[in-house]
């Protein structure tokens, strides 16, 4: 599904966000990436669909090398990658339905977008996706009238419009309370298991990782420091990964 080789991202000013990461993701995996803030999780995800341009390295989505694509082809490939964000990133003043429909923009022309004319089946699919995430009755409300959890579900519905092969989730539940977090994670789990969509998800909380992931990767300072099953990480291992740094400083 996804292959990353030697990915490196250095921001202007010298900050090395991602430092030589290579990994392979198989179809149908639910990969969770954990790490402290600033460890490169978000940058890694954004490099995959080139919202952030990698400084070095190559990324393949199936047989397509994403890092070599021209803008028009990149847009085509982006259609196959759905993404949801920590801040939901809905258009607040637009209705929920408009937000979901926007997920299908990649498949219509500029002129059609100007007139706001999506194909009729898009409207059906949008509504069906809203039903799937459990909030069809909110379709005509303004997006900012919804609660956080509901907004994230709308974001999931928007991503589902693309019928993606891969779903990127950048800390989707960091702004939500524990119960709502589980609710959103369950939807991600459902689309992973039922639709076979590969999910790569950044998370803060180990408990969520252990509950939902089929594979866990830990990042530290832009490098992979752990790659294995969720059951292989316990609190001790987690602390030993991040506690080591403190010990090293003391030794010096």
């Amino acid at each position: 599904m996804l292959r990353i080789e030697g990915l490196r991202k250095v921001f202007p000013g010298g900050v090395v966000a991602v430092d030589d990461i290579s990994l392979t993701v198989s179809d149908g995996e639910f990969l969770v990436i954990i790490g402290l803030s600033g460890s490169g999780k978000s940058t890694l995800l954004r490099c995959i669909n080139r919202l952030v341009e990698p400084t070095a390295g190559r990324i393949w989505l199936d047989d397509t090398e994403l890092t070599r694509l021209a803008p028009a082809d990149l847009r085509e490939s982006r259609k196959r990658i759905g993404m949801i964000f920590q801040q939901f990133n809905l258009v607040k003043r637009s209705s929920v339905l408009t937000n979901v429909l926007a997920g299908g923009l990649g498949s219509i022309s500029s002129m059609q977008s100007l007139l706001g004319r999506f194909p009729p089946q898009d409207y059906h699919r949008a509504y069906a996706n809203l039903e799937r995430v459990g909030i069809p009755e909110k379709a005509y409300q303004r997006a900012d009238t919804l609660s956080g959890g509901q907004q994230q579900r709308v974001a999931i519905a928007r991503a589902l419009m693309q019928e993606p092969a891969l779903m990127l989730a950048d800390e989707p539940v960091a702004s939500l309370d524990p119960a709502t977090s589980h609710s959103v994670m369950k939807y991600l789990e459902e689309i992973n298991r039922q639709d076979g969509i590969t999910v790569i998800c950044n998370l803060h909380f180990l408990s969520l990782a252990r509950r939902y992931a089929t594979r866990v990767i830990a990042l530290k300072a832009g490098r992979i420091v752990f790659d294995g099953l969720p059951t292989e990480i316990d609190e001790e291992r987690f602390r030993s990964i991040y506690g080591e740094e403190a010990v090293e400083v003391e030794i010096r």
Binding site: E76, F85, R93, A102, L105, S107, S110, S113, L114
Partner: protein, 397 residues
């Protein structure tokens, strides 16, 4: 209770207290220096601008005419009916005894005697016309030129008014006449011509502002996207376009609308179109800058999200940028329209049409009552527009 600056400092330290307590401002040399600079600047400014408050107070009475014009604006007046009648008056060698007369109003114009020699005494009168009306007497010479005898004489309660005077001896003999213009009050009030004219001009003024703002909006909305940093700074070309557009906005903004009106009047002639063009040009700069800043202040999150779905630039702008900026765009447009209405009231002073044109004429002709009418009209409309635009803006946000 505020003890700003005193946190953590021992109360017994006098120097720290002076630095942080009351009087701290005065006791700092740096602050005193800046106060001195300010005083010097104000003094110099006083001299350069020739401030003279004594002059102002002493000469305040000079404003009396203008103030009285404002207090008694030429808006309402008694409806009057005008009638005119002329009765012949031969001026020559022979003097006749019979008075010359003609019917006017509900009475008669009587000239006694009915024929005279030059330098002779003459009485012109109206008898039995409507009481308390105005009559103006003229002497009409054989070439039909009218010389005033007495203007706006009021008739008494019997409807009589008369004037006795001596004809000048320089009059050539001929078939003269005496004309009386009678102005009878009809007992009801009506809006004056000044009011009607001002109202028409005010409509022109409002549309001046509307058209100007509209055309400026048409041009500056697309341009503003090109002047928004967050949309343009992706490529070298983008940066060049952005700089160019921003420079245009700044240049157009810096030329005041009234100056532009003078220039435009030279190009397209005096009249409202010059005013419209002046407003358009200046507003493109002003609105373009406001719009660009609105675009730059949007939340970048939705832009990221829509881009991630595979949408192209146009679609990202349509679905992620436009919904966020529409309320601000509308708000800024109403704000600019507000300003332009005010500007358009004075743009006529420099030849741009609208009510300013009328106002400057009244002032130049010292017609203070009419100027007062125009000023009241301006004030009323501007207040109305203020209220309207505030309501609309409240609805939008």
């Amino acid at each position: 209770m505020t003890t700003a600056g005193r946190t953590g400092l021992p109360k017994t330290d006098p120097i720290a207290f002076r630095k942080a307590g009351p009087g701290a401002f005065i006791s700092s040399w740096k602050n005193l220096f800046w106060v001195l600079v300010a005083v010097v600047a104000l003094t110099y400014g006083w001299r350069v601008t020739q401030v003279d408050f004594v002059n102002l107070v002493v000469n305040l009475p000079r404003a009396e005419r203008i103030v009285s014009g404002l207090l008694r604006p030429d808006i309402l007046a008694q409806a009057t009916e005008q009638t005119t009648v002329t009765t012949p008056l031969p001026i020559g060698a022979a003097a006749g005894a019979e008075p010359s007369s003609a019917a006017v109003g509900s009475g008669r114009l009587v000239v006694t005697p009915g024929a005279v020699t030059p330098a002779a005494p003459l009485t012109v009168a109206v008898n039995g016309v409507e009481p308390d009306s105005e009559v103006t007497f003229w002497l009409v010479d054989p070439s039909n030129n009218a010389r005033p005898i007495r203007r706006n004489e009021r008739t008494d309660t019997q409807g009589n008014a008369s004037v006795t005077f001596t004809l000048p001896d320089s009059l050539a003999p001929g078939a003269y006449g005496v004309r009386a213009d009678l102005s009878v009050a009809l007992g009801r009030w009506q809006l004056t011509d000044t009011f009607v004219l001002s109202a028409q001009k005010m409509v022109e003024t409002i549309f001046l502002a509307l058209m100007g703002t509209f055309f400026a909006m048409l041009v500056s909305i697309p341009l503003s996207f090109l002047g928004a940093r967050n949309l343009m700074l992706g490529s070298r070309v983008g940066w060049l376009v952005y700089s160019f557009v921003r420079t245009i906005f700044n240049v157009l903004r810096s030329i005041e609308t009234l100056i532009l009106a003078v220039i435009m009047a030279v190009v397209v002639g005096l009249g409202p179109f010059a005013g419209v063009m002046a407003i358009v040009i200046h507003s493109i700069g002003a609105m373009g800058k406001l719009y660009s800043e609105a675009i730059e202040s949007i939340d970048p999150g939705p832009i990221e999200a829509i881009t991630a779905t595979g949408a192209n630039r146009v679609q990202v702008i349509l679905f992620a940028v436009v919904p966020q900026v529409v309320p601000q765009f509308l708000s800024f447009t109403m704000y600019r329209w507000d300003i332009n209405v005010r500007l358009s009231t004075v743009i006529g002073l420099v030849g741009g049409g609208g009510i300013g044109f009328l106002l400057i004429q009244y002032i130049n002709l010292l017609q203070w009552n009419q100027a007062g009418a125009a000023l009241w009209m301006i004030g009323a409309i501007v207040i109305l527009m203020d209220y309207a635009s505030a309501t609309i803006r409240a609805r939008l946000v």
